[in-house]
Each structure stands twice: as structure tokens, then as C-alpha cells.
Amino acid sequence: MRQMFKAAAAAALAAGLGAAAAGSASAQEKMKVGFIYVGPVGDFGYSYQHNQGRLAVEKALGDKVTTTFLENVPEADSERSIEQLARTGHKLIFTTSFGFMDPTVKVAKKYPNVYFEHATGYKREKNLATYSAKFHEGRYVIGQIAGKMTKSNVIGYVASFPIPEVVSGINAFMLGAQSVNPNIKVKIVWANTWFDPGKEADAAKALLDQGADIISQHTDSPAPLQQAEARGKFAFGQASDMIRFAQKATLTSIVDNWNDYYIARVKAALDGSWKSEDTWGGFDANMVNMAPFTNMPDEVKAMATKTTADIKSGALNPFKCPVYGQDGKEIECKGKGALSDEQVLGMAFYVKGIDDQLPK
């Protein structure tokens, strides 16, 4: 028995020395940065674009950090995945979908020395920051393009979940469209998924069957674009430049650009200046970009370019007052000349002219 203890003690000592040696080396070790994606990196949309951001971090700071990602993480089952990253020595962890909010909060409380960043949510902690992009700015631009390009005056909209981000996107799209074409109608199909090419294609087909000649989408795969291409109609890409999937149908894509943000945040974590804050950037912060305007006449191109520039400079706010609700009544204007950030971030109403009911 005593022999065994001795052996065990020796082994423990050796392990301890080994760990100590590793510890002294770790001063030079690279910081680990982790990413959790809701979809596959091959969705060529939302998760793909976050992964582009991760690759940009590797490219810019590859000598100081290593990155890891977990893809296709089910939201209700994400706590373990997030914790596993924290446990395996990741110092900064980005959780990139709304549904990861509560699990991220819980893990952040357990690992006070790890920095967390949650995309599109609203709960923050001392070591948990939030970030999102003003996707609705891009939606306003594509709404204007759709308003000019449609012949049937019916636009099909493949939507994911009726959360504020999506609802404000639909409204911005409609306001943009109405600014150039007062007779426009938007039909919405809720696909109830972020990424499911089959369901997204079915939704697009149904909308095209109902007379839509332009498809807009707030889901992540290129399937709706491909449906539009097959029918000789137009569509907009989501999250990344999707023109390679539909050369003739793509008018433009709203491109999420996380690269600069991720690089800045990783740098902050490296030099110790990281703070928990909320970042909400649009065209001005380069977090949202427009892909090249294609398959449209020059005048429409010029209009879209000008609108993008005006939003970027602050001359135009997609939610400039007055904004009218579905019932025709004016929405109280809580911001300066436009709806306030809180009103947009918690948006739970449709603007006038949208032919759909939000679940009550």
C-alpha cells in the first residue's frame, strides 16, 4: 500500500512539474478564441460570414491567437458547447445567434475570467458584451430597388422568426419600397428556420406562385435565390454575396461584415482593454455592406448607391418619422426625427401596407 502511495506521489509530482513547465511556456502561448455558430459554416450565409470574420482574425492576428469553432450547435443544447470552449482555455468566446443568449449568460457567470460576446441579444454581464449589426439599413436599400424593379407590385419575403431583428427588417424593406412605389405589396412566408434549404425553397416557390416577381429573404441559404433564378425572377442575397448561386436573379446582397469588429475585439482582449459594451453598427461602422448592384438599369443602381451613401452619412434614417403602423396610426417618435434605437431593437409591429399578422 505504502509503495503505491509513493508511486502515486511521485507521479503527481512529475505531473506537477510538467504542468509548471507548461505554465512558464504559456506566457508565449497564443490566446485561444472560440466561436459558436447556429448553422453550418457551409451555409454560405449567416454562419459562413461569421466564419469569414474568424478567418480574418486568424489572418490579422494569427501570430498571437488561435481560433476554434463549433458549428450547427442547437440553441437549446448550447450551454455545454459554450462551457466546453471556456473550459478548454478559450479566453474570448463569440456566440453568434440570438438563441445562445441565456446559455451564454449562465456560462459567463461561471467563468468570470473569460470574455464572452453574444450577437443580436440584449443581456450583458461584466464579462459579456453584445453586438449586432443594423441589417435594416441594407433592407431599406433593397426595398427601394424592389420597388423600382417589380412589375407585378408583389414582393415575396421569406422570413425566419418573428423576432425584432426580422420584423424591423421587413418594415425597413417596406418603407424603402414605399418611398419609390406606393402601390407595393409584400407577402410574407414564415419558414420557421434560419437554415433549411428545402423549406426555404418551398417558401420561395409558394411566393412566386402567388405572383411575386422579386424574392427577399431573411433566412441563410441561397435556395430562395435559386428558385427565383429558375423562374426568371429577381431576388436579394442574404448575409454574404450570393451572386455565384444566381447570376441572373441576384440584384444585390446585404453583406454582414464581422471582420473588423472581431479583429478589434480580439485586439482589445489581447491588450487588456476589453470592456463589456453593446455595439450596434451599420453602414457607417462597415458592419453591413451592399454587394455590387447587378442586373438592374443604371438609374436604379444610381438610386441605390445614393441611398446607401445617405444612410451611411446619417442624412437618411430608414425609420425617419413619421412612421405609420398597420392600423394607419402614427407611431410615437421616441428618437431624434426617427424611431429610437430601443423602438427598433424591440420592434413588434408592422408598418402600414404589410399584408400579414404578427403572432399576438
Partner: protein, 354 residues
């Protein structure tokens, strides 16, 4: 030349026990070859995938958490599968159980009701799953409708019902319109440090034990087994086939429903879409991996849970894609089925010509 499967007649119990073990070994071998083809070290993959999770305390906890819903559902399914009834809809029964069980804490939210809410919720969950499984059972008994189709289609009905409720009537009014209910006042307590291991994991072995007792030590269990192996003999012995169908589905549904509400009370603490990453379907693999025997299914649930946790580990440590985990789970099921077939049947090569 063609191949024929010839029944072996008597099969030794040793072979029956060893066949799933051999299947797991074969699956690991195939997985290793795939990893090698991808240009990675199969040995490191084996280490990261199967060894590391078994040698670390947190991973063992996660293993138990993950195995819990799988085991409870699989135990229930084994009653159906033993009786040659194909309940493919455990996923739906899981969701309905989560839903009916959650009605209790939702109705009493903010009322200051005591922890009995949990007990009532668990019962309501099991009951909900039971009633939901009764639909395909009754349709089969009354009209001879295939239970495979009805139980499967009811999965979509369950998913959409949950969707509707959390977006509409049950939505948290303070939740910024996001599709989820309030967080429940009462949730299952944690039984280990780290706030992950919840008391629900204790329910799974109890369910497995109860199932073993019913299956092996009661007349009813005997009836189920006979009905599956020889319907004629069962009828001759006086077991009502209809009653067996209904009973097997009720047990199966109650277990799936219980698993659903345990998962919600233990881990998620509220209702939202996507509460199950496919437990109801994965449990089918678990049931067969465990040869429909309660002890075997404990093993099966742990192995499948291990592939999930090991797969995550492989993504983090070796940057192996998630698809590899999925492929591996598929290979595992194929190997189990193949091993089963090869234990019961001999392959005979029949020469060409007629």
C-alpha cells in the same frame, strides 16, 4: 452467384451480448479509416473522441446529462419494438410531454406555489406523452392504420403546436417578442458542483430498472415479448393483441413525455422552439444498440452521448468537422444492425446458374 441469409437456429447468449460490442469496435475502425483518409491521426481522434471524455469529471457529468433523455425514451420505445410495433414518433411525444408538463409551472407562475409544482409537472408531462402516443395506437387498433406513418406525422404536429404556443399565447410578455416562455419559478435542483448535473438524471436509471422488472417479472411483460416474437402464440395464450398495442404505446409515450419534461425542468428551464435536438429519433438507435434490454440501453445511451461529446471535443481540439460525428453515428447504427443480422443468420454463398 448470390448471397443468402440462413437462420442459425440456436444462438449462444454470449454471442448476443458480444454483438453490440463488436459493432462498436467495427464502427470505431471504420471511423478511424475515415479520419486517416482525411489526413489526421486516427489514434489522436480515438483519444479525443472516446478516451478524454471518459477521464474528466465534467465530461462524465455531461455524459449523464446527455444520456438521460435518450435512455428514458429508449426504454419506453423498447416496449413497442419488443412487440413489433414501430413507434417512430417519440420525438413528438417528447415535445408534447414537455408542453403539457410545462402547463403547470406556467399556470402557477409568480403565484409562490411550492416545489410540488415540479412533481405535478413531471406527472402531467408523462400523461401528455401517453395520451399523444394513444392516437397512433387507437388508429391502428380501430382502423388498421400503419402506426409508422401516424406516429411520424404526429411529430410535425407536435413541433408546430409548440411553435404556435411559444410565439403566441405562451410567449413571455417581457421577452421582446422572442419566441419563448418565461423562465419557470421552479426547476430541478443541481446535484453536483458546476450547476449542470440536475436531479433528473436520477430518474433515468429508475425508469430502466422498472422496465426491466415489468418486462422480465410480470405477465404483462411476458405478453409483450410473446406478441412480438409470435403473434399467433400470443393469441393462443389468450393475450389480446389490441390491448398489447395500446399498452405498449402508452408506456412508450409516457416515457418520451417524461423525458421531455425532465429535459425542460432540468436543463432548459423554459419552453422555446427546438427544445429537442432530435432525441426522439436518436433514441431509436439507442434502443437497438442496447438490444432492447434495459441494461444494454444504458450502455447504448452512454455510447451515443459519448459520440456527441467526443464529437464536440474533436471539433475543438482537432478541428474535425461536425459532419464526421453524424457520419459516425450512422456507421454505428449500420454496424449494430449488421452485427445483429450476422449473429442470427449465417451468410451462404449460392453458386451461379439456376
Amino acid at each position: 452467384m448470390r448471397l443468402e441469409l440462413v437462420p442459425r437456429g440456436d444462438v449462444s447468449p454470449v454471442a448476443r451480448v458480444l454483438s453490440p460490442v463488436a459493432a462498436v469496435a467495427a464502427a470505431i475502425l471504420i471511423g478511424g479509416i475515415i479520419v486517416a483518409i482525411m489526413g489526421r491521426s486516427p489514434l489522436q481522434a480515438l483519444q479525443v473522441y472516446f478516451v478524454e471524455p471518459l477521464t474528466q469529471g465534467w465530461a462524465l457529468q455531461e455524459l449523464a446529462i446527455k444520456a438521460t433523455p435518450l435512455l428514458i425514451i429508449a426504454v419506453g420505445l423498447s416496449f413497442c419494438f419488443r412487440a413489433s410495433l414501430w413507434n417512430i414518433g417519440a420525438e413528438g411525444q417528447f415535445i408534447i410531454g414537455a408542453l403539457t408538463g410545462s402547463m403547470v409551472p406556467l399556470a402557477l407562475h409568480g403565484s409562490g406555489a411550492g416545489p410540488w409544482v415540479l412533481a405535478a409537472g413531471l406527472v402531467a408531462g408523462a400523461l401528455g406523452g401517453l395520451l399523444y402516443a394513444l392516437i397512433p395506437a387507437l388508429l391502428r387498433v380501430a382502423f388498421g392504420v400503419s402506426e409508422i406513418l401516424t406516429s411520424l406525422m404526429l411529430v410535425y404536429v407536435a413541433e408546430l403546436t409548440l411553435d404556435y404556443l411559444v410565439r403566441g399565447p405562451w410567449r413571455d410578455p417581457k421577452g421582446f417578442n422572442f419566441p419563448q416562455t418565461v423562465t419557470f419559478d421552479w426547476t430541478l435542483p443541481y446535484i453536483a458542483e458546476g450547476d449542470r448535473l440536475h436531479a433528473g438524471i436520477l430518474i433515468a436509471p429508475l425508469v430502466a430498472l422498472a422496465a426491466w422488472f415489468v418486462m422480465r417479472r410480470t405477465l404483462f411483460g411476458f405478453g409483450i415479448r410473446v406478441a412480438g416474437e409470435s403473434p399467433k402464440a400470443a393469441r393462443f395464450a389468450g393475450f389480446s393483441a389490441d390491448r398489447m398495442v395500446i399498452a405498449a404505446f402508452c408506456i412508450s409515450g409516457a416515457c418520451a413525455g417524461l423525458a421531455g419534461i425532465v429535459e425542460v425542468f432540468g436543463q432548459i428551464h423554459q419552453l422555446k422552439p427546438g427544445i429537442s435536438p432530435g432525441y426522439g429519433f436518436t433514441a431509436i438507435t439507442v434502443a437497438f444498440l442496447g438490444r432492447l434490454h434495459p441494461a444494454g440501453m444504458v450502455f447504448g445511451a452512454l455510447v451515443v452521448a459519448l459520440t456527441v461529446i467526443g464529437g464536440e471535443n474533436a471539433q475543438i481540439v482537432m478541428q474535425l468537422p461536425l459532419d464526421l460525428t453524424r457520419v459516425f453515428q450512422g456507421v454505428l447504427l449500420m454496424c449494430v444492425l449488421a452485427a445483429d443480422a450476422l449473429v442470427s443468420y449465417r451468410v451462404r454463398v449460392v453458386g451461379g446458374g439456376r
